[in-house]
C-alpha cells in the first residue's frame, strides 16, 4: 500500500510539480513516460515519489514519446488508470497515437507543458504543440497557473473516466511560464483528492478473461464514418459532464471553474481572447486600462478548448464591439486557431463583433502588460470606428518591419 503525504494548506509548487502531485494522488495504475523539456520534471517528480514508496502502480520509462502513449494505450485497454506527460517534439512524435487513443475511447490523462515546435528548435513556451493536437479527439483543458494545473488534473480523471465520456484528456500549461514558475497552490489532501477522483471503473478491459475483447479493429468505408461520428458526438456531449465535474470540484475545493473563463466581460467594449498565462497578464492590463483610461476592457480565457465551447464563447463575446484573438502559435499560412474559431462563434450572432488576430510570444518571447494594453487600444480604435482599422492579422512583439496580413472590406 502506497504511503500518503501530509500536504500543507498552502504549498509552493511550480506547474510541473503540481501536476506530479496530482498524478500521485490519483493512484494511477500505469504511467508510461519519456522525458522532454519542459515537462521532464513532471516525470522526474513522479519517479521520485515511486522511489520513496508513495506510489503503488507501475512506472515504465519507455524509449520514446510515441512508445509512452502506446504503452498508455495498451495499459488503458488492459483496464486501469493511466497517465503521462510531454511537450513539443515529443507531443508531435506521439500524435499518431493520440488519434488512436481517442478513436479507441480510452481514458488517459496527458499533461502537456506547451512548448514551441521545431524548426527552428526551441525549448521555450508557446502553444504550437497544443494547436497540433487540436483535431486528435481528446478533451483538452488549459491551466493558466500552477493551482489550475493541479485542479485540472484532478478533474481530468473524472471527466475522461465518466461513463458518458470515456475519452482521453489533455491538461495544457505554458512551458516554463507556468511549468517552472513556483506559485502558491492549495492542494486537497491525499484522501480528499482520491475521493474526488474516485475508483477507476474498467470498461471493455482486456484483463477481464470472462469477456475477451478485440480493441483496435479496422473499419472500411462501410463503417468508418459511423464510428467517427459516434466518437465526435461523445466529445461534443462531454460539455455537460465537464460542467458537472467542475460543479462538484467547487464543492470540495471552493474553486469555481467554467468552460470559458470571463473577466469583466459583462460591460466590456473590447475583449481579448487568449490562452495560458497570457490570460492573467491580460486581466491585469484590462484592469489598468479601466482604471487609467476608462476603456471598458475584458478578457476571455477558454478553459476547455476541446470540445470547443462554441456556445459559451459566443455568450461571452456577442455583446462587445471588438475582439482581439491572440494566438501563440505560428499560424502556418492562415489566420490563428483562436481567431478562426472565435470568428465562427460570433459570426452566428446578431451583432457580429469585429475580430482581429494577434500572433505573439513565439518560442517564449515575452509579452508585457504594456504590449497588451496597446492591443486593447487598437481594439478600442476598431470599436470606435465601427470597423477594423488595422490589418486583420498582426505579429506583435516582433523585431523588424511591421508584419501583418489582410485588410477588411469596407463596412465591417
Amino acid at each position: 500500500m502506497a504511503e500518503k503525504i501530509d500536504l500543507q494548506e498552502i504549498e509552493v509548487w511550480d506547474g510541473n510539480y503540481a501536476a506530479a502531485q496530482a498524478l500521485r494522488q490519483a493512484q494511477i495504475d500505469v504511467v508510461a513516460a519519456y522525458p522532454i523539456t519542459p515537462s521532464t520534471p513532471i516525470v522526474e517528480g513522479y519517479a521520485s515519489f515511486m522511489a520513496d514508496g508513495y506510489i503503488d502502480g507501475e512506472f515504465v520509462m519507455v524509449e520514446s514519446e510515441h512508445a509512452a502513449m502506446s504503452g498508455c494505450v495498451g495499459a488503458a485497454a488492459a483496464g486501469g488508470r493511466v497517465a503521462t506527460a510531454t511537450s513539443s517534439q515529443g507531443f508531435a512524435l506521439m500524435v499518431e497515437v493520440l488519434y488512436q487513443a481517442s478513436g479507441m475511447r480510452l481514458p488517459i490523462v496527458l499533461n502537456v507543458a506547451n512548448r514551441a515546435l521545431a524548426a527552428p528548435l526551441n525549448v521555450r513556451g508557446d502553444h504550437s504543440d497544443m494547436y497540433l493536437g487540436r483535431d486528435s479527439g481528446w478533451v483538452q483543458m488549459d491551466a493558466f497557473n500552477a493551482q489550475e494545473v493541479y485542479d485540472m488534473n484532478l478533474c481530468a480523471f473524472r471527466i475522461g473516466e465518466h461513463p458518458d465520456v470515456r475519452l482521453p484528456v489533455m491538461v495544457h500549461q505554458d512551458g516554463f511560464l507556468t511549468s517552472h514558475t513556483a506559485q502558491n497552490v492549495r492542494p486537497l489532501s491525499d484522501d480528499d483528492a482520491y475521493k474526488f477522483i474516485g475508483v477507476f471503473q474498467p470498461v471493455e478491459e482486456m484483463l477481464d478473461f470472462s469477456r475477451p475483447v478485440t480493441h483496435g479493429a479496422q473499419t472500411e468505408e462501410d463503417w468508418h464514418f459511423e464510428h467517427k461520428a459516434r466518437q465526435h458526438k461523445a466529445l461534443m456531449d462531454a460539455r455537460p459532464v465537464i460542467e458537472s465535474v467542475f460543479a462538484e470540484f467547487e464543492k470540495v475545493s471552493g474553486r469555481k471553474y467554467k468552460r470559458v473563463e470571463s473577466y469583466m466581460t459583462e460591460d466590456a467594449e473590447v475583449i481579448i481572447v487568449a490562452l495560458g498565462s497570457t490570460v492573467e497578464s491580460a486581466r491585469l492590463a484590462a484592469q489598468q486600462l479601466r482604471d487609467e483610461e476608462g476603456i471598458k476592457a475584458g478578457v476571455v480565457g477558454p478553459r476547455v478548448i476541446r470540445p470547443f465551447p462554441f456556445d459559451a464563447i459566443r455568450d461571452a463575446l456577442e455583446n462587445c464591439k471588438a475582439i482581439g484573438a491572440m494566438d501563440r502559435s505560428c499560424p502556418g499560412g492562415a489566420l490563428g486557431m483562436l481567431f478562426n474559431e472565435v470568428s465562427a462563434a460570433v459570426y452566428a450572432t446578431a451583432k457580429r463583433p469585429l475580430v482581429t488576430n494577434y500572433i505573439y510570444g513565439l518560442g517564449g518571447r515575452d509579452l508585457s502588460i504594456v504590449d497588451i494594453k496597446a492591443i486593447f487600444r487598437e481594439l478600442k480604435a476598431n470599436a470606435d470606428a465601427g470597423k477594423i482599422t488595422t490589418q486583420i492579422q498582426q505579429f506583435v512583439g516582433l523585431r523588424g518591419p511591421k508584419l501583418g496580413f489582410f485588410e477588411t472590406r469596407e463596412g465591417k
Binding site: D29, G57, G74, G80, V97, Q218
Partner: protein
C-alpha cells in the same frame, strides 16, 4: 501455466482452437498456421497485440474478429509496447488486488510482420525487450511488406524481387542481405530467442511453450512462406517451408540468455539452396546466366551461417 501436450500430433490435436476461420488471410497463408499453433500451445488466458499488417487487417475488420482471446491493435510500430503496457497494467492491478480473476494465469503475446518488426517497429520492440517485460514477441517473417503489395523490408533476402526493389533489365532485385534479428534480439537482452518454421510443427510448438513459460522477454522469428508475394501455389506453403529448413536457408535454432546457442533441427539430407530458390517466382530471375554469381553467393552465405551456428553451439558461448 496450462500447457497442452505436444508429445505427438494426435495429443496436440485434442486442443480447443481459439483462432477462428472466415478471416481474410490468403488461402495457404502460413501466418494462420503459426498463430493457430501459438494459441493452441497453451490453455492460459492470452492477451495478444498485433501490429498493422496482414494478420491484423485480416482478423479484425469491423464487424468481425477472429480472436477468441483479448486482442489489441494500435498501430504499425507498437504491438510490443501495447503488450508492455498491458503487462505493466496486469502487474499493477495484481499488486493492488483489483483484478477480476487474480489467480487466472495470463500470457502476453505480440505479433508483427517483418516490416513492423525489422523496420518500423524496431525501436518499440527493442525498448520492450530491454525493459524486460514478461511477454513473447513473434515475428511472422514473410520477408516483405506483404499487406501493402510486396515491398522490400530489411528482412528481404538478397536477390528477391519485390515491388520496390524489383528484378529488371539492370537489376537482380534486392541488393542487401537479410538483417539478423536473432542476433540483435539476443544482444538486446531477450531471455530466449528462437527461429522456427511451421513445417516443423513440434519444434515450433516447443519453442512457443518455452517462451511462454519464461518470465522475461522472448523473441521468436517464425518463417511465414507467403504464397502471394513469394509467388508459389497456395497448396505448397509447407513444401516451400520444408525447402527453407532443409536447405538451411532458414536454420532452426535457439539462443538462451544471449549466450547458449542450440541448433534445434538438423536436416537428414541438406538440400541445395538452388532448390529452395527455384520453388518461388520471386527468385526466378536468379536462374538467368548473368545472375549465376548471386546463386553462388547465396549458397556461400548459407554454408557460412551454418558453419557459424555449429561452431557457436560447440563452443557454448
Amino acid at each position: 501455466m496450462a500447457i497442452t501436450s505436444v508429445k505427438n500430433l494426435k495429443e496436440f490435436s485434442t486442443v480447443n482452437e481459439r483462432f477462428e476461420g472466415a478471416h481474410l488471410l490468403c488461402p495457404g497463408c502460413a501466418h494462420s498456421m503459426i498463430v493457430r499453433e501459438l494459441m493452441n500451445c497453451s490453455d492460459d488466458n492470452l492477451v495478444i497485440s498485433t501490429n498493422t499488417g496482414c494478420l491484423e487487417v485480416s482478423t479484425a475488420v469491423y464487424p468481425y474478429t477472429s480472436w477468441d482471446t483479448s486482442w489489441i491493435h494500435i498501430g504499425f510500430e507498437n504491438a510490443a509496447t501495447a503488450a508492455a503496457g498491458a503487462e505493466a497494467m496486469y502487474k499493477a492491478r495484481k499488486r493492488k488486488g483489483t483484478l477480476k480473476n487474480p489467480d487466472a494465469p495470463v500470457k502476453f503475446v505480440a505479433f508483427g510482420g517483418d516490416g513492423s518488426t525489422y523496420d518500423i517497429g524496431f525501436q518499440w520492440l527493442s525498448g520492450a525487450v530491454e525493459r524486460g517485460h514478461n511477454f513473447t514477441y513473434i515475428c511472422l517473417d514473410n520477408e516483405n511488406y506483404a499487406n501493402t503489395g510486396g515491398q522490400r523490408s530489411s528482412s528481404t533476402p538478397i536477390g528477391a524481387s519485390t515491388t520496390t526493389a524489383p528484378a529488371g533489365r539492370v537489376s537482380y532485385g534486392e541488393k542487401r542481405n537479410k538483417k539478423d534479428m536473432m542476433a540483435i534480439m539476443a544482444a538486446n537482452g531477450a531471455s530466449y530467442v528462437a527461429q522456427v518454421a511451421p513445417n516443423k510443427w513440434k519444434n515450433m510448438a516447443q519453442a512457443f511453450q518455452k517462451a511462454l513459460s519464461i518470465d522475461g522477454p522472448c523473441y521468436i522469428n517464425a518463417l511465414s512462406a507467403c504464397t502471394t508475394e513469394w509467388k508459389f501455389d497456395p497448396k505448397d506453403t509447407i513444401n516451400v517451408s520444408d525447402l527453407a529448413t532443409d536447405s538451411l536457408v532458414f536454420p532452426l535454432y535457439e539462443i538462451i540468455d544471449g549466450t547458449e546457442l542450440n541448433i534445434t533441427y538438423r536436416p537428414k539430407n541438406i538440400l541445395p539452396v538452388k532448390d529452395y530458390l527455384a520453388a518461388q517466382g520471386r527468385f526466378k530471375h536468379l536462374f538467368k546466366p548473368e545472375n549465376a554469381h548471386v546463386l553462388e553467393e547465396w549458397q556461400k552465405r548459407v554454408d557460412a551461417k551454418w558453419e557459424y551456428l555449429q561452431r557457436r553451439e560447440e563452443a557454448r558461448v
